[in-house]
Amino acid sequence: MSNLAFVKADSLVKEFSIKPEGISFMRAASVQAVSGVSFEINRGETFALVGESGCGKSTIGRLSIGLLKPTSGSVYIDGIELGSLSGSDMKRMRSKMQIIFQDPYSSLNPRMRALEIVAEPLLAHKVYSSRAQAMQESMHLLEMCGISSSLASRYAHQFSGGQRQRIGIARALALRPQYIVCDEPVSALDVSIQSQIINLLVELQEMLQLSYMFISHDLSVVRYISDRVCVMFLGKVCEIGNTNEIFGSPRHPYTKLLLEAVPKADPTQRKDKDVLLGDMPSPINPPSGCRFHTRCPYKKGICSELEPALEIKGDRSVACHFPFS
């Protein structure tokens, strides 16, 4: 299993200091956005990271491609630890891993044309000897992602949200990466456009043998696109496993309630559902024991005292003292 893994994360921890601006001598408080997360992503697989805001999923995505440095723990891409690489080796490594962003507006430089945006990574890595070749390749990539070449010299703002997302995907593909982090790639899109982009991502994966980390809060999309899924709560893993199994029979109470909370587009399935009470606890001051216990309807005494370990059973792991079976 692990020799197949293309991406391997080992006990990742990431702390951010929250410092009042300009006051350098005051002691900075810190927030642990990611607290000891490990996972593996196999070649050609879609691994989904789900959870609500503040659960650390975007941070993990950035850690996994070296855009952020972990406070502790390590990331291996194709067996090589990112933290050990020198600047120039890291630059070479970057061509293996890329990222697609959520916001199709802020992810493209408003002062560049679509063609230049996609060509930029090619030029930065001097993939081609001439600029003209890079532009030609950029044109090809845009077409592959459904942007016709007649539009390639337009500026980003002249495209619709869906088209912009396609340009972002073309840019991510430019260096022929094997691993792509998709950070909420369809959350900002209209319903009718979402499925276009999802289909494109799936097609590209089949064509180019890509591994995806698919970060999303939309469980329906995750269910559709992913092979395996990791549910997170406040910087910790709740459970990891095969998507169909987790969605079919969640073992962690959070997963179960999260699934129930999603409004179903079918009025015949209306029911008075259990609503998860309370708010997301503060990451600055996380609850003792199991981080979910303040909101968990099934909690018992031990939950507030002892943090449950991630129990691994086959390819399914769960971190709960009293998991559903």
Binding site: R94, I99, P110
Partner: protein, 289 residues
């Protein structure tokens, strides 16, 4: 929301400015007056009826007349010609030190915002220091220390005015640095320098333009004031501030001679202010970014 995003764009910026000039009468007035002053300054020797330095003691403090449209000063020099020549000093002092200050401020602001940390701390404290001085007093001290001359005035104004630009560019850099297109460039292995020049700087340009149109009138006023106080241009230079100062003792007998150069200052400065306000309105989404 989409409209605002669209506004955040380069080639629409020019269109927006053009549209602004068409609809904003005050800004259009400003642009026209500035253009006239620039023409007068360039062609001063052609449009001036007299040599601005020619002393004619027989015609001292002459009234407004067909021969001397704005009268003559205490040395009998033609006031209108001196005002025309004075436009040169005001425009050069208004434009060049401001541009230099903006270049300095932009460079420091970019580095400060992009790299952060210690270098940011140092640059920002320097900016705090420059900004905490009352600008006129700082200029006085610099002129005292370097000696009175137009060149030194030039240096003083450039040194004083970079603070605001540095702070603004830093703030913009900080917010742009977090934008996903900058992250994407980093993920692609684009170098820091290329990110600063290709991704950050171009998105700051509209803001810089607005700062420039607000700095220029300040600089013009500073030159006039310092020259008035005797620590700017030196006699017999035709500088508007100096002209008021030279003739202020005749204010009650021959008011026009002291007042006319001030009208020129007012016209030029208010024109820049009108244009600057128009630009700010037109480019507003950039500013609030």
């Amino acid at each position: 929301m989409q409209n605002q995003e669209e506004a955040l764009h380069a080639d629409t910026a020019l269109l927006r400015i053009a549209a602004m000039l068409r609809t904003d009468k005050k800004a259009a007035f400003g642009a026209v007056v500035i253009a006239i002053f620039i023409l007068v300054a360039l062609l001063a020797n052609a449009v001036s009826p007299y040599d601005p330095y020619k002393i004619d003691l027989a015609n001292r403090l002459g009234p407004m007349s067909a021969k001397h449209l704005a009268g003559t000063d205490s040395f009998g020099r033609d006031v209108l010609s001196r005002i025309f020549y004075g436009a040169r000093i005001s425009l050069v002092i208004g434009l060049l030190p401001s541009i230099i200050a903006i270049l300095i401020g932009t460079a420091l602001g970019l580095v400060s915002g992009y790299y952060g940390g210690f270098i940011d701390f140092i640059i920002m404290r320097l900016a705090d220091i420059v900004l905490a001085f009352p600008s006129l007093l700082l200029a006085l001290v610099i002129m005292y220390s370097l000696g009175v001359s137009l060149l030194n005035l030039f240096i003083a104004l450039a040194v004083i005015n970079w603070g605001v630009t540095a702070r603004t560019v830093r703030a913009q850099t900080l917010s742009l640095r977090e934008k996903e297109f900058v992250e994407a460039a980093r993920a692609c292995g684009v170098s820091d320098l290329a990110i600063m020049f290709r991704h950050i700087l171009p998105n700051c340009i509209p803001t810089l333009l607005v700062i420039l149109t607000l700095d220029i009138p300040e600089a013009i006023l500073s030159e006039a004031t310092l020259s008035f106080l005797g620590v700017g241009a030196e006699p017999p230079t035709a500088s508007w501030g100096l002209m008021v100062s030279e003739n202020k003792q005749f204010l009650f007998s021959q008011p026009w001679v002291a007042i006319a150069p001030g009208i020129a200052v007012l016209l030029l400065v208010i024109s820049f202010n009108f244009l600057g306000d128009g630009l700010r309105d037109a480019l507003d989404p950039f500013m609030s970014e």
